[in-house]
Symmetry: C2
Amino acid sequence: MTKITAHELAKKQKEISVAEFFERNKHILGFGNQTRALITSVKEGVDNSLDACEEANILPDIYVEIKNGEDSECKIIIEDNGPGVVKKQIPHIFGRLLYGSRFHAIRQSRGQQGIGISAVVLYGQLTTGKHTKIISKIEPNRPAVINELVIDTNKNRAEVIGRDTIHWEKPTGTRIEVSIIADFVRGKRFVYDYLQSTSIVNPHAQITYKELDGNEYFFERTAETLPRKAIEIKPHPYGVELGTLIKMAKYTKSRQLNSFLKTEFSSMGDRTTNAAIEKAGLEKNLNPKQMTRDQFLALHKAFKKVKIMAPSTDCLSPIGETLIKRSLKNETQEISPEFIITASRPPSVYSGNPFQIEVGLVYGGKLPKEEQVKLLRFANRVPLLYQQGGCVTTSAISSIDWRRYGLTQPSGKGIPTGPAIFLTHVSSSLIPFTSESKEAIADVDEIENEIKLAFRECTRKVQHHINKKVRRKKTREKFDLITRILPEIAKKSANMLDKPVPSLDPIITKIMDVVWIEDLIEYEKISRKPVQTTLTDDPEANKEGIITKSKIMVVNYKRSPQKFNLYALIPEDAVVGTVNPKPSKITDKYIKWNLESIPSANKIDIYFELAGLAQGDFDENDLYIDNINPTFVIGADKWEGD
Amino acid sequence: MTKITAHELAKKQKEISVAEFFERNKHILGFGNQTRALITSVKEGVDNSLDACEEANILPDIYVEIKNGEDSECKIIIEDNGPGVVKKQIPHIFGRLLYGSRFHAIRQSRGQQGIGISAVVLYGQLTTGKHTKIISKIEPNRPAVINELVIDTNKNRAEVIGRDTIHWEKPTGTRIEVSIIADFVRGKRFVYDYLQSTSIVNPHAQITYKELDGNEYFFERTAETLPRKAIEIKPHPYGVELGTLIKMAKYTKSRQLNSFLKTEFSSMGDRTTNAAIEKAGLEKNLNPKQMTRDQFLALHKAFKKVKIMAPSTDCLSPIGETLIKRSLKNETQEISPEFIITASRPPSVYSGNPFQIEVGLVYGGKLPKEEQVKLLRFANRVPLLYQQGGCVTTSAISSIDWRRYGLTQPSGKGIPTGPAIFLTHVSSSLIPFTSESKEAIADVDEIENEIKLAFRECTRKVQHHINKKVRRKKTREKFDLITRILPEIAKKSANMLDKPVPSLDPIITKIMDVVWIEDLIEYEKISRKPVQTTLTDDPEANKEGIITKSKIMVVNYKRSPQKFNLYALIPEDAVVGTVNPKPSKITDKYIKWNLESIPSANKIDIYFELAGLAQGDFDENDLYIDNINPTFVIGADKWEGD
């Protein structure tokens, strides 16, 4: 063999277009096999539609259809009522990889890469050789435009093959029609699952799904307002890399260091800016474009020495515990689990990117005992269906020793086995996906930690829930005994002695010596308002077809009168209706009553109504008390403050 | 909230440069945290050097150094004796993502993406703001060039900040010096592990590693020839997508369909080409540039109806069972495992890409019994250290029920627990990595299947090995009994009767009634030739410092003379030395003897030598026999043919 020179090797070196790269590595984008290709295509289309609607403040109304083609070809149609796309942008957005509006914005969104939807177009063309059709309408009084696209992968640019205008009834919207080779038979169930999960965590969206075999499914909108809008923020100094700082300075319009810091970063007020500049030993009026690497390095180090407020979490839009609970209820309808517990962590930050963890746990019922726990994963309200093994949510769960919670787990590591479902939702302005297919989240330490903390909180709640149940059961047995047996004895003794039956209340009270709190929850259907098609901020519009009615009975089985405060937790998104007796305080988290003195052996009834919830969202009261020794109370715990 | 129009949204839409994309998503490239950043940087540099050397037919001699910088900065230096890089290409290869020579070539190589090494430069600049230095020398008699690079991420282009020529002693080579923020303390062990594993599966490479704290390690070259060169092949018709076919036709220089098929695809001879064209109902002399989609579709379908030879597997360069065994031996030096078994599958194809699976299994010894089995993963001779959970090798292993092989595995799924190590090597012209970080292989069905088959073969061999051991042990007990006890009895009886001790051979033979085969392996050190620095094809140069000596004893304990054939398997890469008696055949897989008739109660000694192996590579004979009833033979199995 003879040596080959650098000159000979140089002949082969050339540029690789990003489209060409992904054409060859389509599995990286989630098109690894024909089942996944189907799901990825639907997912990218729907995610794109949801993002577009939310950005334009429109309640999403999405139509998904899968049609039969020749051989194993599927035609996928996804239509929304979003703002549409201006004519000039259509070939870029749908026919060019790495192009979009969400990449440069720091806020929670589904699409962050500017790859997804064009990848679908690319995959369609690669496997079927057919063009993709895009219909877009941007104004109610103008016709829609229709485009036929083809991607030149060597250049990563779309060619518009045909362009026309057509009449379309929608006021505004976008429709994509793309033919791909896919395995509908195997992928069918996953598409349904994906749409269902999506609908549950996006209750403001309405999704219609028409399957290839003609079946039509309708996932109803159950919330008439958009979720809290994720606001775009600026980069935070704590997370910015030195190289990024240098680059930002190169492109800034500011001519002075202090205005550069104040305008280009978040959490940088006058005081913090000055402190950072001083710590770095620099001058306020330095021109950022003329700073040396050493000056940037000093500034970068100074950031870490100055106390800077955490980045605003307005850029996040978590799902909320109620929706998580609902999602899990839905998932376990036929399983009648023993309990569903949720927990959410306060927002946190990794490399300057805000993120927040919410988790849920279902246990018992008909869930299989001999199988691995089922993991449900969500990122920015998008269900993740693949690559579970490579996801930080899985590694976080695997690193917890679940054996002490009654699950099987050899050596205390790995996914435990037992009758449970674990749900994790990560929301972030930048989800660190392990690849462009957005199927798994990378093992960032901060995220892994927060997930572990969230599940620990969950298990604490589970323990609390079980303890409460056990205590209540024990007391109830005692109570049953006393209230059934004692009267019998009294009656019999009285009869034998031919005396009147004595009142047993004081005796029962003496034996029980507790305040007994019991509750009951009922649901009432109310005639539902017609679906609002226009946008509104009116919270009343959020009203559901269900009123949740909570009845609480407080019985004083102590020998002396009792006077204390009672707190009932309520879900954040519930609207409080009638409350009886008059509460002393209502916040978005709880209702508080200063209960009047209850005489011994007397009871008091408490009632409140919640609107804006689905049946079962609120199915157990979480009650707390203060101003009384909590060991004397059954059915409520010590109030630890807000 | 008011609706936002498409025009307003359009203002934010813009192109994302690929460098900018990865700058923000650096975890996708393997720079998710500071530990991984260190390993990824070393890995990309070394992989690049190995590829370059092999392409130029040079035995790699690689120097890796990690130096201390300020704060948690590390300076990484990687130097090779490869062909160097021509001046004009330096900024492209090291400073531009998606640029290179290996992407467009269909053959096994470490780098396939044209991203790796520029990603290191990008990460260095991002975290330290420093330039990267590249030294390259392409001809022995000319000076080396030195370049300082900086990447403009908005354009994905490198700027050369400084360029100069310097004297460098090497005849040719490349040296990169890049400063990155990394965690050396935590990453240290992994860098060592990575280099060690790399050295084991690349025995033709010599690697010197100088650690930050001054320690220097030397991973010696143990094979003086390059591995079989992976030859570039053309795409195979079975795996080509319709869209790719259309694109290829657009860019071909051929003007007629038949010459297009013959020149642009592999395995397309005259007959196959004509058959495909005929099946598609097309004409040979059609101009490929003028064909319609329907014509391409017909041709694409016709490919599947015609029998086309599998793609050539010259494009692959597997590790080989001997090296795999050596790698596992090395990994388990202090563990003294019960056995090490390897298996390799014939090459196979997924989506037109040839691939091949090799596996190994270590069991017992001091391996921990209560922990999950350790998985070792390799792809194209590169050790994979991260993302085990998301890798097809893991899911294939997890889907096998290992309980029947004595490992713990709840519900028969997941990574089993027990004293074992599993190794998997995937080689392919296109490894379907789940992301650009090349840490895990996507779950391609064909690959998963082959891995399962390979491990099944392994477990069969394990079973075989155990059975053989058990049978031999049982017979040996019987044999010991007979050869110790019988003579005692005979001696005593003879003494008592005052008669001479009778010969027991016929009796022993009668009781044993088998042909007994036993073997012994010894190693002898020989004076080693000096390391060859020039390239050579001489197989003698492959000679190691060890001669493996195999001694086989065949004893006929049957009552009649026996005459049969004996086969001893030998590793493919071994060189056969002295063989005694004269064999009837030597292939690269076995040595065969037609054994002369062995009289009853007689024995025959067989001896052979192997060179080119390390001590322990060959530590047990695998013996087969034919022309004799195999149930009468202990120590060899029935020969099933080549």
